[in-house]
Amino acid sequence: MRRFAELFETLDTTTSTRAKVDAMSAYFRSAPAADAAWAVYVLIGRRLKRSVGPALLRTWLKEASGLPAWLIEETYASVGDLAETIALLVSAPASAAPPKEVSLTEWFQGRILPLADISAEEQRDRVVGWWRTLAYRECFLVNKLLTGSLRVGVSRSLVTRALADCLRQPRVQIERSLIGTWNPSAGFWQALTRNEGNLHVAQPYPFFLASPLEGEVQRLGERAHWAAEWKWDGIRGQIVRRGGVCTLWSRGEEVITERFPEIIEAAATLPDGTVLDGEVLAWLGDRVLPFARLQQRIGRRKPSAKILREIPARFIAYDLLEWEGVDWRPHTLRERRDLLERVMEQRSPVLAASPLMEGKSWEELAAARGQALKRGVEGVMLKDWSSPYGTGRQRGAWWKWKVDPFVFDGVLLYAAPGHGRRSNLYTDYTFGVWNDGTLVPVAKAYSGLTDVEIQSLDRWIRVNTREKFGTVRSVEPKHVFELAYEGIASSSRHKSGIALRFPRIVRWRPDKPAAEADSLTNLREVLASCSAQSA
């Protein structure tokens, strides 16, 4: 653990990418195999099933610190991280003798995982015991491992780079071995070092991701060099059909097979050794349903007959990644598409190829894109016909050409402190619009302001607080912000009766008085016009 804590410290105290890669690489080279596997697991953001929830930790923290609950909450709001709050309040003093060294693997396998099998009292005694004996840094780390993922400013691709460096293997190979389900163990690490990696039967491929198109579409050159498809608004997924079994993966590398039995049933007709990339969509009759409807299915591990009837799902295939057990990713999109169309012929509509858009010129395509909202899609995808299927977000071959978002002007009503980098700053905002002379909250947004704007707004909020509800403050309704959102739906869960999809701040409008912000009537009109189109 000490060695991993040192690695963590190095990663946490440098902003240099090179230094981070070197530090990880050095750790992987020197750590015992099982520790190295666990470190990879943690650094790429994998998390264990939690055996102790944050509510319990808070209760124990209250007991262990002897501080009033409200003061712990106040401190937590300022620190922005529970694991850190605990370490700050109750870890062992730096002067105390360090406890016996316990390896990273032993921490997981011998200490954290077994928590699941003991009573709450025993859990408390053990966890509080760790708090009291570990000094700040290790106490913080153990809490992080207990509560979830370890955000330490390294991306998955940085971990891949470090592994590629120390194992002398191509990054694509490493990337492939890390995707999907695997168990951190000495065996996994040894397989990784021998370049055998994690190639179990249901292993998916890393997803290729598109970048947002900036500037004029004409700059891409000739229209004929680009495939155009609708940008569907569902869950990106991969169907892996191997060894007589079908597995459906989400882009978050979760197995979602059981959640979509109708897709699996249709995919069972594919020959063995086939992998498809595509989108899971809720689809009723001849129409795609809004994302909000699909969301009602995502949460259910085993959907009921009623849900299956009311919100049926489909898989729209974008690409063919494997055929007859052979990796087709190096082929051009043109070749993969031709094969995909042949493979998809005469299958159930539940499994179909994503239709290509017509439009011989960019102008015609732009006109078709104008129909996106009406069709319930987010915009257009443009893919270079000559491109192989890449890994991650490599710019240049795939572009997403989204339709312009909706915008409205809202008034800042409430603010709460942020987390992580934004701890100790009021950065979680709630905005309202006018309804009969009062402001009703309609959106929460966290992103879109510059650091300088955040700082000055934070100061203003502290001085202009009206009321405090725990850590949330209501403020004088004064500041107007232009907010963008991707979609709108009616909602009985919100006081305003509407729910906005992915709201974010476009700009601060110091020029606009609060009285000139939008009204709920305006938003209801947008809702009505969208529903009219999709009815």
């Binding site: 902003t15 240099s16 003061l71 106040e74 300022s78 700050l88 701890s423 100790n424």
Partner: protein
């Protein structure tokens, strides 16, 4: 009991903390007739008042920061001055060189205004002196239990190690610290561990000179000029936080940055500010020191001027202590 005795000895007016019985202000934020100053930081010492009373060790700093010709009356720590019906005296606050608590006595009442203070040892200024009082007006910059300072010697060692690691890699180390107080404290703490030269930003250099004039032992310094052929590889440079990201930084070539502040106790603060390293070194009292000070002074009533005043007030009230916030314009920079 007379009328005067029941009214608060100090109130907050448009110009700042005011004592009507003595007709003077403490650290006013607008020009007044008589200003009693706790220390020379910009939010406590502002120009424009007619007369200033300062603690003698801080007199040169006050003169440096005030326009030429301003009337500055230095008072030795403990030396009484009689203003109106009050007796006032200044006592070490341990914040920076010449920082003072103001004790005000009238009849049998004793009030103390702490200004900014810390309880940790600091080689650049006299240690905080406990002054017993009935009412204590205190700062609360770091009044949350998360703020507990590590041992200064350990932090100084961390700074030195960081510098040496960077030096071994041929990098400059740019350490940000407030120009007045913190920078000199760092130079004095490091002087116990090394004798190497440190480069300093102009804003820090002139204050280092004043500290040296007061006999404070610090590492040798040189201005971080843009002289031809200047090579800062491996050097330690002290700069005010405002220099971060400015063109002034270009002269140092490849460098790492660090920041010395109590705010660096919180990882989110550290990450947000984008420094490579944060060193937890504060010139303010941490949570345990605040509570200890309230107890030590014996004050039956605590008034808090700036920082996490709400949290501390509520905590004290729940402990049965009479506590209220005061609305002042003092900053929370460190």
């Amino acid at each position: 009991m007379s009328m005067v005795d029941t009214a608060d000895l100090i109130t907050v007016t448009a110009a700042g903390l005011y004592c009507a019985a003595g007709d003077f202000h403490i650290d006013p934020w607008a020009p007044v007739e008589r200003a009693v100053i706790t220390h020379a930081h910009g939010d406590h010492l502002r120009a424009g008042s007619a007369t200033y009373y300062v603690a003698e060790p801080g007199a040169d700093l006050a003169r440096h920061r005030l326009p030429a010709g301003t009337a500055v009356t230095p008072l030795a720590y403990g030396e009484p001055v009689y203003l109106g019906s009050t007796r006032i005296s200044l006592h070490p606050a341990g914040h920076i060189l010449g920082s003072a608590q103001v004790q005000i006595m009238q009849g049998d009442r004793i009030w103390v205004v702490s200004g900014d203070y810390k309880r940790d040892a600091d080689p650049t200024c006299e240690a905080f002196a406990v002054v017993r009082c009935d009412v204590l007006i205190s700062e609360a910059t770091f009044a949350l239990p998360a703020y507990q300072w590590p041992d200064t010697a350990v932090v100084a060692r961390e700074v030195l190690d960081w510098w040496h690691v960077n030096r071994a890699q041929g990098c400059a180390s740019v350490l940000f610290a407030y120009s007045l107080g913190k920078a000199q404290r760092v130079l004095a703490e490091l002087a116990r561990l090394t004798g190497d030269l440190v480069y300093v930003h102009g804003a820090i250099g002139s204050l280092v000179d004043i500290y040296r004039g007061r006999g404070i032992d610090m590492l040798p310094t040189a201005p971080a000029t843009l002289a031809k052929g200047a090579d800062y590889a491996g050097a330690l440079i002290l700069a005010p936080p405002s220099a971060a990201g400015s063109p002034w930084m270009r002269r140092f070539g490849e460098h790492r940055t660090g920041f010395c502040s109590g705010w660096m106790r919180i990882r989110g603060d550290r990450r947000r500010r984008g420094y490579d390293r944060g060193f937890v070194l504060s010139d303010h009292a941490d949570w345990p020191s605040l509570l200890r000070t309230f107890r030590d002074t014996g004050a039956g009533r605590i008034l808090l001027t700036h920082g996490y005043t709400d949290a501390m007030c509520r905590y004290l009230r729940e402990q049965g202590v009479d506590a209220q916030p005061l609305r002042t314009e003092y900053g929370e920079e460190e």
